[in-house]
Every structure is written in structure tokens, then in C-alpha cells.
Symmetry: C3
Subunit: 345 residues, 3 copies
């Protein structure tokens, strides 16, 4: 499959600088360009590669200014990254799966929409309702009374427990577990614990994406809710009764404890821990590996550390931390001076 | 399904204050009460909601004292949280699965007890022994020579490797891996590594619950042992030859390195890391995100930090840490005074 | 199955001290020795157990010097740990699975080598190529156009997405996800995000071992590459476009962000986080729970902390950190002296 610079520019409403007839057959990063490849310049930090890359075509911003000689053909677009995303969608070669493969289990009381794919060894329980054009890959488990919206993709090995609701245009990656029991125990008669039954459920609204092996527990009572447009990376833990606001993005291996409510448009780094029963304001940013131990009420706050506090004072403290032994020596020097003074006196 | 306050009080040996005829059809948290809902007051912090909740019935402690007017019917019980757990068990609507579904694989040399459920696409290997009333959900893998006690529930997608022993009344959530190889390598001839075969196994005693996607590795030699009543949350790593004492509770994403022995009745927070070959005393508490680098010998110790030490001094140090830049300025001021003094002299 | 010390020594080219006729039927750790057991002394820290163990035979180094009376038979070898690994391989009782089990799905356009095992409920997609003597356990998903080398073992529940390349002699443990989408989004028109299609793949070279429930994302463009001999523990996150150099070893629950390149022969502890777009030099060692926020250019560096810096100054700073409250008091004392001086003056 080959495309000319002209064909690509037409797709993207782009403006060509250089040969419109040069062809590309693959896509690469700008620092690894090879002849026949299309690449893009989005982050200005990579601008020097424009003059070196062996790629044939580069997507660049309409506003970009270059000072040296450039060999490849340029296509100027409003936003090179968005343009690339659009192009990649056109060339993506996902497995094209259709219809119902043999050896799947579909309960007679389940309802499937039009154009649904059900892979081999998928299990669809009693009372399940599945929308149109949903793709259910092999080894997916959908327990009783689950509801799934239109155009949602559920990759191999996802487990969705009873009564969960999954919206439209969601993507659940392999190994995701939705609606496992929350971690709730009441102290028993001795040192042991009694299990609190977890009778709530999980709700994912539309356009939610959940990364591989992430776990989202069902609510003890009520619902664990992931609002519209939330993007969760891999290996994240979302405990019972958590609520995550619309368009919040969370990086890998973060854990959110029970009943915490996270606002809209937050950005949370990897390996962050948030304790239970907190409220995190809209637009909060949390640096990777931070531990959040108290609610954040001011919108747009950025925090770091474990326990976390405002990022600027945190980083100032850390600079001093790195020099603590020297600071201790300075303190000792002052103490010795005092002593000498006293000795002198 | 509706219940009167009278019916609920009878189930719980509770004492009614208010109308015994009021009915409830759902359960909610006290801060979200709606008419027709049952709720409970366990944590005194939530007491103000007793006067505001629109719930119809509240479970409260026999000892609770209220000072204002309360609209809902109260049912007084010894322990509201325990009472709720008991009630929830009665109303829980788990999928009711029975018998052997088609398209499962059961080796002819496997033995199954009475009343066992085996879901579609479950795999039960050679020499496996399964107790009575065990539930094995779809996509579970039970390898050769595994032994499973009575009344244990194994949810969809759990993988149990050869020679593991699982006790009675255990619950394994989706994606749990029991008995994968421990991480053991010997330096090879060059910079490479040779795999040390992992010929031990994993033993889970009775009443152990393991959260979604948690991994428990088999021992190199001997057994990795999880004692009675242990509760593990999601995404926890338990390495080869670890031993976890009875009724210890561990929150999500914690990792325990090889050959470490954890005592009884410990409470370990989320995202904690414990290095290998340590001994952690009974009743130890470890704050979330701590890193434990040496053995803890005194029972009932609470530690925090990475590396962790006693929680009280840790928190005192952290208070100073937050003010390090100010402290540095104070030090500089003293130094300048000294210099000025010298300049004065 | 019993072996005499003589038979074991013959297998290992070892030298016997004590009875060559004593028999062993099991293997144990030296601190837990029982009669009839073989054990080994590798770490000198365990040397005192040599005089106490009830094991019958001990593998020890040719160079080891003992000062007390030893009851068990000794077998002296060059490297006791390596010798044990060799022996364990001989006695290991892995499930012996062969051929194609019923109820597996093998696409007619997939190619299988000789001596391949395919378990029940395994799924092998269109265009897949599998080498000789590969073992594919139940519930494995291998999507379209995946290539797998010879002698690789893929345990139950592994998911390998389209176009991934897996080398020879690799081991993938249960729950591993290879080639899930990278976490890539472009800001949308409002506060929402558009998905960047992830059209790259994942490449695992030869002799790579990947622990249970670890996730390795496909590249946005190009390849995520795990070089020869890399050993990854459980629950690790490897993001899109990461590259990990040959024979690097990474402990459990570590996360590596997008486009970071890690060198050869590195040792990375558990729960480490590494931010994106960094370069980590060959032979780097990173202490557990560290957070690496900038590239490491000097080979053989050891770092600790979050953010991480050189391990020696880090630990010196931490020693002062533990005594910060005392240090603050010393500062206050100096300040008071000054004040008193001034008062005196």
C-alpha cells in the first residue's frame, strides 16, 4: 500500500512543500526516518531531526519556521499529531473479526445488537444486553445482567462481573477486571474478618478506555462510577465506590482507595496512591509516585510527594534534602564556633 | 422485594424505635439516603446524617445516643456493620450457577466433589481433587495435581498452577495467578542468567480471599504459604517462599519479595514494598507506600516511609521536611550574623 | 525417587566428603533441613546452618572452609547455586502436555512447527507462525500475524496481540499481555481526548522471561523491544516504544513510561518508576521504589530515591532526614543563644 504526498495532503487538507509525487509505504518516528516513510514533527525538541531524517514526507505545523535545507517533502497541517492520528486510523490493520465464532457460549436469554463479533470461548451470561457493532474477543467473560453500549471493543481475556454497565465507544484491554468484589471486611469474633457482601455494581460511561490488567471493583452499595472520556492506563486499581470525573487521565499502576471522588479533567501520574474517602478537585495534577493523604479542594492544584503537597514547595524541600549532609555540617560548624567562643571567653 | 422494619429486626435480633411497618426495598449509604432505603450508622463521624437522611430505616448501635429528632425508623443492634453484612448476604444476587456447563475440559483422572459448578471453558487437569460445593467459573485453569477444599469460589480467569493447595471457603477473584514460577536466576557464563527451576508449590489455607489480578508465585523449594483468614486486595505481588501469617490484611498493589515471613494479624497498606528474607512481627502495621528494608521484631509496631521506620518519628521528620527551605534560611541567617559579627570585630 | 550422594556428585562433577551411599528424596533450604533432604550453601550468611542442618547432603563450594564438625555428606562443586539449578531441572515435575487438545481454535491459515502443544480453549489467529516444540497452554490468545520462535512456553491466559514477534526459548507466565495499545491520546476539541491509533508492535528477542500479569504495550509507531535474555518479574508495566537492553533484570511492579531506552545488564528493583523519553546507561542499578526522572548517562551508576540520585548521597541524606527534628532543635538552640546574647548585650 503506497500513498503519494498529494494523496496524504488531500486527506488532511494540508499544504505541500516539495515533491507531491513522492510515495510512502510506512510510518516512522522522525529520529528513525527511512526512505519511503512518513513522519511528523510535533514536539519542537525534535526539530533538528527535520534536517537529518531520511524519511520521505514530514507532517509539520503550518506555523513552523525552518532555517536550514530540508530534503523530505513537507505537508503543513494545523496540528501534526492530530493529523497523524487521523492518518493512522486510515492505515491501521486491526484484526477484522466479524460474526459469531463457533465454541462461544451465549445464554439464550442474552440480547445481541446488530453487527456484533463474538470470538471463540467468549462467555455471555443470562440477561446480558449488548449494543450494535460491539466486538467481544475470545476468552471474554460477561456475567449475568451486564449491559454494554454500542461500538464498544472488549479485548481477549476481559472479565466483566454481574450487573456492570459499560457505555458506548468504550475500549477495554486484555486482562481488565470490572466488578470484582470490593475489599470490605468487618472484624469477626476473634482476630478474623467477616466478608461484607459487595452488592453494588460498576458503571463506565461513554468513551472510557481501560488499560491491560487494570481492576475496577464493584461498589459495596451503589456504584463505582467512571465518567465519560476517562482514560485509564495499565495495572491501575480502582476500589469500591470510587468516582472518577469526566476526561480525567490516569497513568499506569496508580491505586485509588475506596469511596474517593476524583474530579473532572485531572491528570494523575503513574504509581500514585490516593487514600480512601477523599475528594480531589477538578483539574488537579498529581506527580508520579505521589501519595495523596487528604482532600484537594482548590481546582487546578498540582501536588507531589508522599504524603503529597504543593509541587513548588515540595521540589524546594527536595533540593534541600539532597544537600542535608552539607547543611548538617554547616550547623555543626556554627555549634563549634559557639563552643570555641565560649572557650575563648 | 420489600421488607418491613419488623422483618429486618427479627433477622438481626434488633430493637425497633419508630414504625415497625415501614418498608425498604434497597440499601444505601447514610449520606445518600432515599425513601425506601435501609442504611446504617457505624462510624460516629457520620452521626450528623442521622438527622438528615431520607432513608426509611437505619441500623444503629444499641449504645448510640442521639440528641435531635430522627425521622427514620431505627433498629438497634450490637454491631451495625456486622448486621449489615449479615443482611447483605441475604439479599445478594450473585449469579446462581450449578452443575457442569458444556464445553468445559475435565481430565478423566480429576475428582470432583458434590454440588460442584464448572463453567464453560474451564480446564481441570490430571490428578486434580476438588471438594464439595466448589464453584469454578468460566476460563479458570486448574493444572495437574491441584487440590481444592470445600466451598471455595474461583472466579473467571483464575489460573492455578500444578501442585497448588487451596483450602476451604477461599475466594479467588478474576485474573489471580497462583503458582507461577518464582523469579529465580543464577548468573550464567557471560552476562546472561540461567533459570533456577521452581519446583515448590503454593498453599492457601482456609478462608483466604485473593483480589483480582494478584499473583502468588510458587516456592523455589518448599511452599509459599498464605495462612488462614488472610485477605489480599487486588494487584498484589507475593514472591516465592513468602509466608503470610493468619488474618493478616494487605491492601492493593503491595509487593512482598522472596522468602519474607509476615506475622499474624498484620495490617499492610497499599503500594507497600517489602524486601526479601525479612521477618515481620505479629500485629505490625505498615503505612501505604512504605518500603520495608529490614526485619521488624517488636510486635504491634507501626512503620512508615521508604525506607520505613517508626511512624511517629517518621511523621515528625516529614513535618520538618516540608519546612526545609525555611530552615535553610534560618541557618543562613545565623551564618550571616556570625560573619557580620566577625566583620564588626 | 531416591538418589545417593554418589549419583548426585556424578551428575555435577562434584567431590564427596562423607558417605557416598546416603540417599536423598527431596530438596530443602538449609535452614529447614530434614533427613533425606538435599540442600545447598551458596550465601556465606547461611554458613552457621551447615553445623545444625538435619539435611543428609549439602552442596558446597570447592573453596568453602569449615571450622566445626559437620554431620551431612558434603558435595563440593564450583558453584552450588548453579549446581542446584542443574539438579532441579532433572527432578522438575512440570505437567507433560503434548499435541493438540480438543476444543482449541486454530485458524486454517496459521502454521505450527513440530512437536507443538496447543491446550484446550487456546486461540491461534490468522497468519500466525509458531516454531517447533512450542507449548501453548489453555486460554492463550494469539492474534493475527504473530510470530513465535522455537521452544517457547506460553502459559495459560497469556494474550498476545496482532503482529507481535516472540523469540526462541522465551517463557511467558499466566496473565501476561503483549501488544495491548499504548497509552496515547491527543487533546480533542474540548476537554476530551482523541485516541492515537497504535500501529506498531512488540518484539521479544530470545531467552526473555516475563512474569505473571506483566503488560508490554505495542509501539505507537515502530516497535517496543525487549532484547535477548531480559528477565521481567510479575505485574510490571512496559509502555509503548520502550526498549530494554540485553540481560537486564527487573523486579516486580516496576513501571517504565513511553519511549524510554534502558541499557544492557541493568538491575532494577521492585516498584521503581521511570518517566518517559529517558536513556538509562548499561549496567545501571536502581534501588526498589525509586523514581527516575532524568536520563542516566554514566555506566554502572546506582541510584535511589524519588526523584532518584546517586545511592551514597541519597542514603546520607536519609540518615539526616531521620534526625531532622533533632537537627531543628539544635538550630533553635543556636538561635536562642544568639537572642540571649543580644539580650545580654
Amino acid at each position: 500500500m503506497k500513498f503519494t504526498a498529494r494523496q496524504i495532503a488531500d486527506q488532511l487538507n494540508g499544504v505541500i512543500e516539495g515533491s507531491p509525487d513522492i510515495t510512502v509505504h510506512t510510518v516512522c518516528r522522525i529520529e528513525e526516518g527511512t526512505p519511503g516513510a512518513l513522519t511528523f514533527l510535533s514536539n519542537p525538541k525534535y526539530q533538528p531531526y527535520v534536517y537529518q531524517t531520511k524519511a520521505s514526507v514530514i507532517l509539520v505545523s503550518k506555523k513552523a519556521v525552518f532555517t536550514g535545507a530540508i530534503t523530505p517533502t513537507l505537508i503543513r497541517v494545523d496540528d501534526p499529531y492530530q493529523a497523524l492520528a487521523k492518518l493512522l486510523t486510515l492505515v491501521e490493520k486491526q484484526p477484522d473479526r466479524k460474526g459469531l465464532e463457533e465454541m462461544s457460549y451465549i445464554h439464550p436469554e442474552a440480547e445481541l445488537g446488530d453487527g456484533v463479533y463474538v470470538g471463540a470461548f467468549a462467555y455471555i451470561g443470562k440477561g446480558v444486553k449488548i449494543g450494535n457493532r460491539v466486538k467481544i474477543f475470545p476468552h471474554v467473560y460477561i456475567s449475568d445482567d451486564v449491559v454494554i453500549g454500542d461500538d464498544t471493543h472488549i479485548y481477549s481475556g476481559v472479565k466483566i462481573h454481574h450487573q456492570s454497565h459499560i457505555g458506548n465507544h468504550c475500549i477495554l484491554h486484555s486482562g481488565v477486571v470490572i466488578g470484582g468484589d470490593g475489599f470490605g471486611f468487618a472484624p469477626g469474633s476473634g482476630m478474623n474478618y467477616s466478608k461484607i457482601p459487595q452488592i453494588g455494581n460498576v458503571i463506565l460511561e461513554d468513551h472510557v478506555e481501560v488499560g491491560s490488567n487494570t481492576t475496577i471493583d464493584r461498589a459495596t452499595i451503589g456504584s463505582t462510577i467512571i465518567h465519560q472520556g476517562v482514560k485509564l492506563d495499565n495495572l491501575i486499581q480502582v476500589a469500591h465506590n470510587v468516582e472518577i470525573g469526566a476526561n480525567t487521565v490516569i497513568a499506569a499502576q496508580t491505586g485509588i482507595s475506596g469511596s474517593t471522588k476524583i474530579g473532572k479533567n485531572c491528570m494523575i501520574g503513574g504509581q500514585v496512591g490516593i487514600v480512601g474517602h477523599l475528594t480531589i478537585a477538578d483539574g488537579t495534577r498529581i506527580a508520579a509516585q505521589s501519595g495523596v493523604g487528604s482532600s484537594i479542594t482548590r481546582k487546578g492544584t498540582t501536588v507531589q510527594g508522599s504524603p503529597a503537597f504543593d509541587v513548588i514547595p515540595y521540589q524546594k524541600s527536595y533540593v534541600v534534602y539532597r544537600n542535608l549532609p552539607a547543611m548538617l555540617k554547616r550547623l555543626e560548624k556554627l555549634e563549634n564556633m559557639k563552643l570555641q567562643k565560649r572557650g575563648d571567653g
